[in-house]
Symmetry: C2
Subunit: 349 residues, 2 copies
Amino acid sequence: MALDSRKKQVLNAIVDDYVSTYEPVGSKSLIERHNFTVSSATLRNEMAELERMGLIEKPHTSAGRIPSDKGYREYVDSLLRYDDLSDSERNDIENRISGSVNDITDLIRTATDTLSERTGFVSLYMSPRLHKSFLKQLKMLMIEPGKALVVIVLSAGVVRDKVVRIPNFLTGEQIMQISDSVEQNLTGKPLDEITLVTVASSMKAADIPDAMMNQIVYEAYTAIKQADSLNIYLEGENKMLQLPDFGELTKARNLLDSLSNDGMVAGYVNELHPIDDVNDDSFMIRIGQEITLDGLQDCSFITTTYKIGDDISGNIGVIGPKRMEYQKVISQINFVRKTLNDKIKKLTE
Amino acid sequence: MALDSRKKQVLNAIVDDYVSTYEPVGSKSLIERHNFTVSSATLRNEMAELERMGLIEKPHTSAGRIPSDKGYREYVDSLLRYDDLSDSERNDIENRISGSVNDITDLIRTATDTLSERTGFVSLYMSPRLHKSFLKQLKMLMIEPGKALVVIVLSAGVVRDKVVRIPNFLTGEQIMQISDSVEQNLTGKPLDEITLVTVASSMKAADIPDAMMNQIVYEAYTAIKQADSLNIYLEGENKMLQLPDFGELTKARNLLDSLSNDGMVAGYVNELHPIDDVNDDSFMIRIGQEITLDGLQDCSFITTTYKIGDDISGNIGVIGPKRMEYQKVISQINFVRKTLNDKIKKLTE
DNA sequence: GGTTAGCACTCTTGTCGCCCGAGTGCTAAC
DNA sequence: GTTAGCACTCGGGCGACAAGAGTGCTAACC
């Protein structure tokens, strides 16, 4: 299992060549492209060994080798992750993200778009996990008889709203009154401590029949909970069609079909980042068969975490072909994450 | 130019066959599939004539004929548009759309999704053109110093909001005061009569320095105007990859690239429906080269109008391959539109 | 004059055989 | 342990060939 340094070198060279040429790499071309001090025959022996170890494989008998998923894994694990970007790259990213300054969601989306643009792959963000954020304001506005708008302002400046149904006979006055009492009692509470019961008890002030009250409680509750629902945003799906990796129509279809199932992808990314630790800045990398999500076995997931304040985090990352320049992509994500965190900090203080 | 009835019959038969088989249709197979009372040789003569008229063409010398764009056009124009759907189809559509009952936007989106699902093509809706709708409510909520949420309720129950920047020192009280005065003065006004000037004059009540005031006026104004911006929603892009029409990768790419340019498509659809007549229930059909939108020349656009109340309308429709069952698709759109209009009516009264 | 049978012609599609080149594994020598 | 050499394998490209579908045209028919 332990790779001696030459095997490592050979593996890395194979991955590098394959990534840049998309052609199985043979012993001879390996010699030509890299300064190996040994002959192609020796490399052939090494390659046979690497194949026996399951790190590379042949598409057919008389072809060169391509990395297996395990090979990519070995390669990726041996990377120095945080390659420096050039100044111009940094500037580009920073300028791009600085462009949108209003809303925190805009900011995250812009960062994600930047990522897709710069890598040429699909990028994604997960909406921030807000269960630890606390309620700052809650207003209910009467829109018309039977309908109200619930506006929720959370810590860190996240704003959500929802149109809800209310009993027909309620007046704007009464709604305001209810809304005020809820706000007064729930402000400062983290979302995950807000339950149907706490909402109900926060409302008991008004003099409205119980049955009606229950409806309002329920609507307000769902409006609040909806603010914490998990959303994913994907950008750049079409770009993947430009890649030779998805040059076969069936593969392209497969990929786009799988990606169009937002919910599944969101669930998977969520699983990848289970620990709710805002300061965890590790990268999650899943390659090919490692991905337990139907139809994306020709891809790699690379995701990491952004944060809002001290309690709230979400994820951002890239879905690309297995055959990607991992070092570069990781560096990009890393710098985008850093820039994004900075901008969020500036925006929320 | 005038087609005698047999030529018409031949053309229709060719289109029908080509649509269902995606193969150039020859004189012999035409005889086999349809009850022509003449021989294949006669049909060959007719077909030669149709080709001379530019209605059909040959991919190459020894192949059958396929309809040209002009041929499709002739075919479509001769259709009895509103084919009845089967009861089960109607029920399916109605149930699907009845499922979403809360928000008017949800309703329209569901109708659009239904359209894509049932046709297997891309469906779209344009957000309602709201310039004739009038302001029912406008509230500004202080979120934190320097930031407010503008909530706008329009006639027909459309709700929009936007986070805006405000001068830092303004208090919640002052914001409320401003918001109330604006609301009082602008309520009942159609959006297209609201200008920077009317907003400004509606606000003069409060005692705030002019320079500050200008900022608020501007922000409120853009929030209002943004409510009227033209949006498009596309659904089912990936489904197009299942069609043989886009079986070549370059075509598939082209299509998806073009469709991903939302703004262009929105602009085009908007051009197709220039007259702001809510009761106009005509269909706009654009086929192949008729489409003046880069990269969609293998497609057909079929769009029509839905309405909200007496003044507000938007568009809904389908983008599919030229080679589609026009009669069926048009019928589907027609019934979806009808169902949607009904549901909207119920929701808004 | 419109219609039809017949026929020569065209062009695509699929298949088969062939060769070339790149790459491999193995052996024997260094 | 390394290397040169060699026989072997396999995919891709190319041309030849046959089959099949369709056409246009001509000459005969009603």
